[in-house]
């Protein structure tokens, strides 16, 4: 699974640390998700889409 969290973070001018604090996870977790080392839970994914005001499929997509 790939994601565009880094892009949305950049658009919204939010650092990894700020995003981590808003989502109540560690910055390392945000970093692992951005680098496709970890797929977040549905709950965390939905929290992210709510924060960035986008759809799940805008933020996450399955690799071909």
């Amino acid at each position: 699974m790939t994601n565009k969290i880094r892009v949305y973070r950049s658009i919204n001018k939010i650092s990894q640390q700020d995003l981590a604090e808003k989502l109540a996870v560690s910055r390392q977790t945000i970093n692992a998700i951005e680098n496709d080392k970890y797929s977040p839970s549905l709950e965390l994914a939905l929290k992210m889409t709510k924060l960035f005001d986008c759809k799940v499929e805008d933020l996450f997509s399955l690799e071909d």
Partner: protein, 159 residues
Amino acid sequence: MSLLLPHRFKKISRILFYLFFGFGIYYMLFLEGDPKVEELFTFEVPALINDEIFGPAESGWIETVYIDELLSVFIIIFGLLAGFSKEKYEDELIDKLRNDALRISLFISYGILLLTVLSIFGMIFLTFLFAQLFLILFLFNLIFDLKLLKHYKTASNDE
């Protein structure tokens, strides 16, 4: 995540776990049977069941070298506290690392147990069996700590 203990237990229990585990190995290899150590740790303790060789099983007070029991209790308590205390920033990725470490340690531990059952015979088999009671806890803590170290290290400067 709800079954985890507070973070304040983590650091001290991790140190004490590795300390007692290390001492346990040292005791098994070099100190077991040492009369001075045995005398120091011989107590009269209550026994629910005391099964003497060629004798009937009884309950009551017995005099025994209690160092094995003390070490076992400390290793189990501090091992569980170290492995199942929250990290400073406990989240779902940390929980995944903990679960992965537990799964890997279970496989390795039972793999070693299989090898022990198939290749170790005689009285030393019991020593191996006793040591393996703590192997899964040791491997779990070691693998989890290594995973945490890697996790904190690799994500240190990426913004």
